[in-house]
Subunit: 233 residues, 2 copies
Amino acid sequence: MADSGWHPVRRTRTFEDVLAQIERRIAEDGLTVGDRLPAERHLAGQLGVSRSSVREALRVLETLGVVSSHAGRGPDAGAVLTSRPDSALTDLLRLHLGLASLELREVIDTRHMIEQWAASHAAAARADTSALADALSGMDRARTAEEFVEHDTAFHCAIADASGNRLVAAIMRSLRDSMCKYAVEAVERLGDTSILRTDHERILNAIDRGEAAEAARAVSDHLAHAYPSLFGQ
Amino acid sequence: MADSGWHPVRRTRTFEDVLAQIERRIAEDGLTVGDRLPAERHLAGQLGVSRSSVREALRVLETLGVVSSHAGRGPDAGAVLTSRPDSALTDLLRLHLGLASLELREVIDTRHMIEQWAASHAAAARADTSALADALSGMDRARTAEEFVEHDTAFHCAIADASGNRLVAAIMRSLRDSMCKYAVEAVERLGDTSILRTDHERILNAIDRGEAAEAARAVSDHLAHAYPSLFGQ
DNA sequence: GACCACTGTATGGTCAGACCATACCTAAAT
DNA sequence: ATTTAGGTATGGTCTGACCATACAGTGGTC
């Protein structure tokens, strides 16, 4: 086996068993977003385990953005299947950045890769750019670095969305969210943000005109402007 | 706030509080990989919550690949900080693929992007290619489709590793792992794998000679060979 | 003194049962 | 028909217990 996930020799834990059962049920019963899982107590009874174990399994699924739990009674209550990979990815990146097991440089390089790809694909597909234009006008109204970064993030995520690939978009959103703090610092260090504004216009226009290569170049130049220290070498 | 992770109006759950406390402690105490968290019972006592809540928080951290729990006594026991983003990403992708909230096409496109980027970066950096050569020779010895895919996966992950970006490598590994099943099907459908073998040699040689553009082209051609149905249009 | 078997103990893993907060459902009261 | 009060199923939390694991110490044996 590949070395990717070596697990120590250990009896399967109960909640892992529950996890596998739930996953199997999702696959076999063709459950999809919006469907409900049985109540915790019922699941525990059906699987012959305690409620704690079921809860730990559900907690894992919730962490992975697969279910969402709501108390109370009615159609919205209980563990509902959802699709929220973004927050899971964000948490993952944030924690590993905090643990220093990932460096900012790596995150920004990854973002560079994604954004270039997304911009050129969006251009090639002649994607709708109204969301990008909205974010652009939002940046003009921004009065603080935080507000600026917020609209900047929206712009870049809109590029990823425009690529039409939801996985890429989710990764992009998580990357931005997890490095939000550093982005604010970068903007404050930069002072004048007009060049970023111009860069964005250039990206938007390239996508609008369907010029994939120019869109990729524009993204690359933009990141070099935003993080000069990482691209100086 | 950005729309990325809207949380319904709800009192913070206890385990979320514990989660935040642990994360804060990691950041403030500068804890890093290898350090131990207090025992569950102690943590519960310190934070004034029940052990169940602590356990649910630890389960989340374990899911995200940040801690690893071991029973018993001694230096290895307890919740130890680790850095295993790969399995978390793999689980996430696998589950969302199962939920049909992600399509195989999106995963393969993402892989295409990553692999092109990694190959050209590895070439530009004149990275060590011995791991790639090892995987290549492993493919020659493979006697079943599963074995073939295993070494194929190793080869492609080695490309990502050679790029020097751990985040990209982790994403690559997860993508491969989560679509392993489909890769076996693709190989079986293909029958003759010699063309894949030739493709790999071409990629390896391009990286070895530092030809970034050729490496990217070779990767692109290779994926077209492996998944002709997705690139025919 | 070196080695080995036994016991103690701190740890995670699991279970059972209780209670609370929430939110819908229902039936009675107006 | 509307309002209101109670019922009930749900998740969230807590308590306390017990088991399995694996190291740490203890004592005996050679």
